[in-house]
Amino acid sequence: MPSRRGIVAVLTSAALIALWAWATGPSGIISPVRFPSPPLVWEALVQVSTVGFGGATLPVHIVTSVALVIEGFLVAAGTGTVLGLAMGWDRRVAAIVNPIFQLIRPIPPLSWIPLVILWLGFDNSAKILVIWFAAFVPALINTQTGVRDIPEHLVEAAYMLGTPRWRLLWGIVIPAALPTIFTGLRLSLQASWTTLVAAELVGSFYGLGHILNEAQQSVYPGMIFVGMAAVGLFGWLTTVALAFIESRVLAWHPSVRELVSA
């Protein structure tokens, strides 16, 4: 028995698609140069999947982008959580690192792009560094908060039970902070996608951003659409993958369902 929300969603989507087809097609309200009609989009999709566009076929572009996002995300999340753990646990570390962090933090990650290009050119390493600037921050902040917010009595109970240092870290601190850490990871992933697309738009050989760039240069609206849809789709897929991992790792957690899956 399909839900009401499901039915409304399907109806709305169908209506929008119909509107799209009509507006760009028979009615001529929107010229296909400004906004591609469904058949034009389909054409572009077929082309990029088979013959290729912007130097390679769609799968190659997808793999390039997704691989970079995951790499960048892992590096940023890894460094962010480790430093966040240290800062959350030991106030002295936090006191030393915080001012530097507060200095760098307000700088929009994308504004590092020109500098990173000067440093590393248009290499993959440049893209990873740009992603790092963006994705590092939420991972750090949330991990630090997660550790700070561990209820004191849990830590005391662990000490009372004679828990040695390393088990305290692995078995108590990290599990306790994990829900908040995952919030940070979600934000990190989002930031990773945003910066990667930007970086690929600025300069790249392959990738979804590159498709978008080429499509813009050659004024190919159908391909722009395909590029955007691909970015959206894979952004969503990676987010779902992370959510799945989260649900497994945090199986014990009586989590609150988000109203709009933020």
Binding site: R91, P108, G232, L259
Partner: protein, 267 residues
Amino acid sequence: MRNRALRLSASARGGLGLLGLAGFFGIWTACSVTGLVSATFLPDPVSVIARLITLLDNPYAGYTLPEHLTASFFRYGSGLLLATGIGLPLGLLMGWFRLIDDIITPVFDGLRFIAPLAWVPFAALWFGTGLGGPVLIIFTGAFPPVLIGAYRGARLIDPQLVEAARMLGTPHHRMLTEILLPDAVPSIVSGLRVAAGLGWQSLIGAELIVVSSGVGYMMVQAQSAVSTRTVMAGIIAVGLVGSAIDFLLRLGEGAVRQRYGVLGPSK
């Protein structure tokens, strides 16, 4: 033993903080001054600040720094205004009326995963190099948090408050303006703060590509001309403005929360 329980005095914190900053700037200066890293890569801090000051009066890539910042800010403000103007009422309506929620949410969910900058080619197609392009990008960045903030504020109302209001015979219009709306305000303001940050970030991204003025544009031109000092000066300027915006909004959020008597973390 128990470093976590350690409470540092303000002076200890300050001292350690200064140590960190000194270390950071020290290493930076040492690297560039001694030539360990070439000055093209990493100019020393002092020359960057000097460059920043020069740019205040001397034009680069067409305008002085303040002029670039103004252009940027104008786009930013427009984008933010648009995002708030649409996102706020829409979010509230979605929160209050299930049907609207059901209609809009799938569309929103479909579009939100498209990174703001992925809209650039589309923006270029529709708006060329006019104002519309960057504004659209900023809109896509700032819109989701505004919408979600308003939505949450509208949805997460305590049912007992509504029941109490009904018991007291509150008419519909007053229910809206004096009960439902004020209750949503803290969440709305929280969303606005996030939107302001994301909007500023999207702006810079947009300016890297589709415009011919503004701080982002200035930085891209400087990068082509390999003027690292200018690029770094731009980064500092952008960071300072971003801080100022966040600081002001933080004050605003604090004032709102005081006024509305909100306890605990934002919804």
